[in-house]
C-alpha cells in the first residue's frame, strides 16, 4: 500500500538525509535529544526537564535502580529503568539507588525512576515519528 507523501511536513523533508533511527537512539540515550536533533527545541526542553526531574526526584526519594532480574517483577522494573538511557548507566556507575531503604518515599522513588524510563521511551518513539513524517 502506498503512503501519502503530502502528509510529510516540509521541515521533515529537509532533514530526510542521514540515519533514520538517529533521533530514536539519541532520544533514548539522552532525554529530549531526539527532538533537539529535529529542531523541536521547545518540545525537547519540556520533555528533557520532565524526564530528568522525574528521575532525579526518584533518586532523591532513595528509589532503587534495578540491577538484575531475579523474578518477573524485577525484570519489568529493569526494562523500565533501562528506558532512562545514559541516566541509568550513570546511576549504576555512581552507585545511586543501590541501598534497600524501608521507607514509603523510597517506594515512590522506585516507581518514579521506572516511569521516567517509560516516558523517555515514549518521547524517543515520538522523535522517530517526527523524523519519518508520521507526525507533524
Amino acid at each position: 500500500m502506498a503512503t501519502a507523501p503530502d502528509k510529510i511536513s516540509p521541515a521533515v523533508k529537509e532533514t530526510k538525509q542521514g540515519f533514520v533511527y538517529l533521533p530514536l537512539i539519541a532520544g533514548w540515550l539522552v532525554p529530549g535529544a531526539g527532538h533537539f536533533l529535529l529542531g523541536k527545541w521547545g518540545r525537547g526542553v519540556l520533555l528533557s526537564v520532565s524526564i530528568l526531574s522525574m528521575f532525579s526526584l526518584g533518586i532523591a526519594m532513595q528509589g532503587r535502580l534495578y540491577g538484575g532480574a531475579h523474578d518477573i517483577l524485577d525484570m519489568l522494573g529493569l526494562a523500565g529503568d533501562l528506558g532512562n538511557g545514559i541516566l541509568y548507566f550513570v546511576g549504576r556507575v555512581a552507585g545511586w539507588g543501590v541501598d534497600q531503604v524501608q521507607v514509603t518515599t523510597a517506594d515512590y522513588g522506585t516507581r518514579f525512576i521506572v516511569v521516567a524510563g517509560l516516558l523517555n521511551v515514549i518521547s524517543a518513539v515520538d522523535a522517530h515519528n517526527l523524523r519519518t513524517g508520521r507526525k507533524a
Binding site: L46, M61, S123
Partner: protein, 59 residues
C-alpha cells in the same frame, strides 16, 4: 533527601507524566496543552476518588 507526602508525590508524578503525554500524543501546541491538562485532571482526580473509595472500604 526528598520526602513528599503521598498527595504531593501524586501531583508531581501527574505533572511530569501529563507534560510528556501532551507533547507526544497530540500534533499542535493548543491540543497538546489541552490534552496535558486533561491527563493531569484524570491523574489527580482518579487518585482522589480511589483514596476515598479505599477510605470507605477500610472503615
Amino acid at each position: 533527601m526528598f520526602r513528599p507526602s503521598h498527595f504531593a508525590a501524586v501531583l508531581v508524578f501527574a505533572l511530569f507524566a501529563s507534560v510528556v503525554f501532551g507533547i507526544t500524543q497530540r500534533d499542535s501546541p493548543p491540543r497538546m496543552l489541552r490534552y496535558g491538562m486533561y491527563c493531569f485532571a484524570l491523574f489527580t482526580g482518579s487518585a482522589i476518588l480511589l483514596s476515598w473509595v479505599m477510605f470507605f472500604i477500610a472503615r
